[in-house]
């Protein structure tokens, strides 16, 4: 009965989720990785598709390489910008790939996807240092690093364990460094400036290289391959929207390295929105005009609040429907209860981001995985407090209800749940407040909400933008807390809120 309830809740959830997805089934889903250049390229694709008459949607800052590639394979995305070196050495590492562009294209097609022609620039990895530090230590090449074992290296998290990243770089150059840290790419530039790290991985089209006047170390054994930017797309796109495929070919060869660096600089250093940067480029280079909608801060705030509340409320509502019955079940059957509480506890120990990404294969991208992950995180406090609330009811109280001759279900409804209401409500409150904070991570997988400006703010090193997400999230958490305290006065029976007179 409980299992059936749980199943039907899950089915209902999935149905509503797929209904939401089906609504813009026809829209072309463009993805981009969580760094500026990728967002600009994604926006270029998005605008070209719209210009070609299609409905398109840009899932910006969608995640890392693996997340995007898998989303494309599954059909959650239709197209996203990738780099040849990444495909060869990271995504398809270990596969037998014939040399050259044709070989790589064949390999991509063998995976069931399509690869366009290079967009015109090579954004290779490089290792960079502050000019003054490099000068002082006399370091010109990556090999020179070998003699300076005390240097702290800071690499983007993806670079840390990519096939073409730090592990192979270390092996090829025999680098002995032990203090090697993983950190977010944009933050690494700041750490380099403050001398917390001494060398970092660069993307050769990064605007910061010129802006900070960094020294790019010579790749003297030619370890890093070529990272030509290309578009990867699903084959069915050619059937669904041939005009879009045709339009996208106009981007091929249209962006050289200097141009891309310039676009990156406008977005990151000059703080022009990626939408504007993309629109301006298309206007001047391809004579494709597109509209840039400037959303007001208030408008954006409202939309993010709506997205955030959707995540929190939907997941919380379903969590209550699942967790309260589980709590009741746990209170009734001690052994099963330990099992349920244990399982809910284990879920709680899974790192938030890992849980989010783990959800993608099951329920796709955007809101559904975020809601599912939030839901799973909400279970433990509610299950535990329902369990505690029920088992804390004194024996004589339970026996008084039983002695009246009430059925178990009736006792539960009329006596036990009301007596446990304060505890259950406290559990729901805990889950709600945790959810408000946790939902900010939803932006990492395209679910929007207050996490979006935080993510973008981190990438653009823009404290104002970060606060646009962090402050409303904190306010919402306080608001939720306050609302629950008010609701206690309505939901907890008055008789339980009185002090005894003797």
């Amino acid at each position: 009965m409980k299992a059936a309830l749980r199943r039907s809740v899950c089915v209902a959830l999935l149905l509503s989720v797929s209904a939401a997805l089906a609504a813009d089934d026809r829209a072309i889903q463009v993805g981009s990785k969580a760094f500026t250049e990728s967002v600009i390229l994604g926006e270029l694709v998005n605008r070209m598709a719209i210009n070609a008459g299609a409905t398109a949607n840009h899932q910006r800052e969608f995640g890392g390489t693996r997340v995007l590639w898998n989303a494309l394979l599954r059909g959650d995305l239709d197209v996203y910008p990738e780099y040849t070196g990444t495909i060869e050495l990271e995504i398809l590492a270990g596969k037998n790939i014939a040399p050259g562009e044709a070989g790589l294209r064949a390999a991509v097609e063998a995976e069931g996807l399509r690869m366009g022609r290079p967009l015109g620039f090579n954004n290779t990895y490089a290792i960079g240092m502050r000019e003054d530090v490099a000068q002082r230590l006399g370091i010109r090449t990556i090999s020179d690093l070998r003699d300076h074992t005390d240097l702290v290296l800071g690499f983007s998290n993806e670079f840390m364990d990519r096939g073409d990243g730090w592990p192979s770089l270390r092996d090829v150059y025999k680098l002995p460094h032990t203090d090697v840290r993983g950190l977010q790419h944009d933050l690494a530039y700041r750490a380099l400036q403050s001398d917390d790290i001494h060398a970092m991985d660069l993307y050769s089209t990064d605007a910061e290289i010129e802006y900070y006047g960094l020294r790019v170390l010579l790749d003297d054994v030619e370890h890093f391959p070529t990272y030509n930017a290309v578009l990867i797309y699903r084959p069915d796109l050619a059937v669904r929207a041939p005009a879009v495929i045709k339009a996208l070919t106009r981007l091929e060869g249209a962006i050289d390295g200097a141009t891309m660096s310039g676009l990156n600089k406008r977005a990151k250093i000059d703080r022009v929105s990626e939408d504007q940067v993309a629109a301006d480029f298309l206007e001047t280079t391809l004579r494709v005009s597109s509209e840039v909608v400037e959303v007001t801060i208030l408008g954006r705030l409202l939309q993010r609040t709506r997205e955030h509340l959707t995540l929190v409320l939907f997941s919380l509502a379903v969590a209550i429907l699942i967790a309260v019955p589980l709590g009741i079940l746990s209170a009734r059957h001690q052994r099963l209860g330990q099992l349920i509480l244990g399982a809910a506890g284990i879920i709680q120990t899974i790192p938030a981001l890992a849980l989010l990404v783990f959800m993608i294969p099951f329920v796709g991208i955007g809101e559904p995985p975020a809601i599912c992950a939030l839901l799973l995180y909400s279970l433990l406090p509610i299950v535990r407090n329902t369990y505690t609330g029920l088992t804390d009811i004194p024996l004589h109280m339970r026996e008084s209800a039983e002695a009246l001759g009430l059925k178990r279900g009736v006792r539960l409804r009329l006596v036990e749940l009301p007596l446990a209401s304060r505890s259950i409500l406290a559990g729901i409150k805990t889950s709600a407040v945790i959810n408000v904070g946790f939902a900010t991570l939803g932006a990492f997988i395209g679910a929007g909400g207050y996490g979006q400006p935080i993510l973008t703010g981190l990438r653009l090193d823009d404290m104002g933008l970060i606060l646009q997400g962090a402050v409303p999230a904190a306010v919402l958490a306080l608001l939720v807390q306050g609302l629950f305290e008010l609701s206690e006065r309505v939901l907890v029976p008055r008789g339980l809120r009185l002090d005894p007179i003797d």
Binding site: H396, M397, E399, S400, A401, E402, A403, L404, G405, L406, K407, V410, L414, V415, P418, L419, S421, P493, R494, G495, L496, L498, D499, P500, I501, D502
Partner: protein, 251 residues
């Protein structure tokens, strides 16, 4: 009425009730008494099937308790415990009427029954809207008694019903309770550890020790013909209380 045949009950390694027979006399008040841990409360809880016997049978009006009939049999019994066992989230009236409403009584019937019970137990009607936490100990026991009597059950089971009250309220309520039992002519089984109270209420007194019935009979039988040394010692230890009682009834 209520009949226990060779019932036994253990909790883990502890034997709470050794094979015991007991027949409760209809219309009379039977008091179960004995030192702490003698099994008197366990016996009472066996009678309403809050705990099941390991062996033997519990019959109520000839029907043996079993899982199917237990609810219906309980509707014909009223149960009162030491601190009332009132549900703190419900006001006095809702506590009393909980079962009747669940069984589908209409509000007219409920409120006229509440009025009857309030008269019987001398409970002030304005107290009905109060929550248990807002009532005195004595009032709580009146509400608890009303709840037990709501469906006009055949038998009342009371587990130390006056045990948590201060002496003045307690002696007042003793007198009132006995009045009520006599008025209603109910079969009553009461658990107490107080010999004075046992003598005051009990038509039949059942003295227990270590999970066994040592002697059952009237007060004078226990006083004059103690079955063994233990009965004599148990009664002597509580003589003072009996003495006071004797003086009270003499004056």
């Amino acid at each position: 009425m209520l009949k226990l045949t060779q019932v036994t009950r253990s909790f883990g390694a502890t034997v709470a009730v050794h094979p015991t027979d007991l027949s409760v006399r209809p219309g009379a008040t039977t008091v179960l008494i004995g030192p702490s841990g003698c099994g008197k409360s366990t016996l009472l809880r066996l009678m309403i099937y809050l705990i099941q016997p390991d062996s033997g049978s519990v019959r109520f009006e000839g029907t043996e308790f079993n899982a199917d009939d237990v609810l219906e049999l309980r509707h014909r019994m009223g149960y009162v415990i030491q601190d009332g066992g009132l549900f703190p989230h419900l006001c006095a009236a809702d506590n009393v009427a909980l079962l009747a409403r669940h069984l589908g009584w209409d509000e007219t019937r409920v409120s006229s029954r509440l009025q009857e019970l309030a008269d019987l137990t001398r409970f002030p009607v304005d107290g009905f809207s109060r929550f248990p936490a807002q009532l005195s100990g004595g009032q709580r026991q009146r509400v608890s008694l009303m709840r037990a009597l709501m469906l006009d059950p055949d038998v009342l089971l009371l587990d130390e019903p006056l045990g948590a009250l201060d002496p003045i309220v307690r002696s007042e309520l003793q007198v009132e309770l006995r009045e009520i039992f006599r008025t209603l002519n109910k079969t009553v089984v009461m658990v107490t550890h107080d010999m004075g109270e046992a003598g005051f209420f009990g038509d039949v007194i059942v003295l227990m020790r270590d999970g066994r019935i040592v002697q059952q009979g009237t007060l004078s039988q226990l006083l004059n013909e103690p079955a063994d040394d233990f009965v004599e010692r148990f009664i002597n230890a509580q003589r003072t209380a009996l003495h006071v009682l004797d003086e009270g009834s003499a004056s």
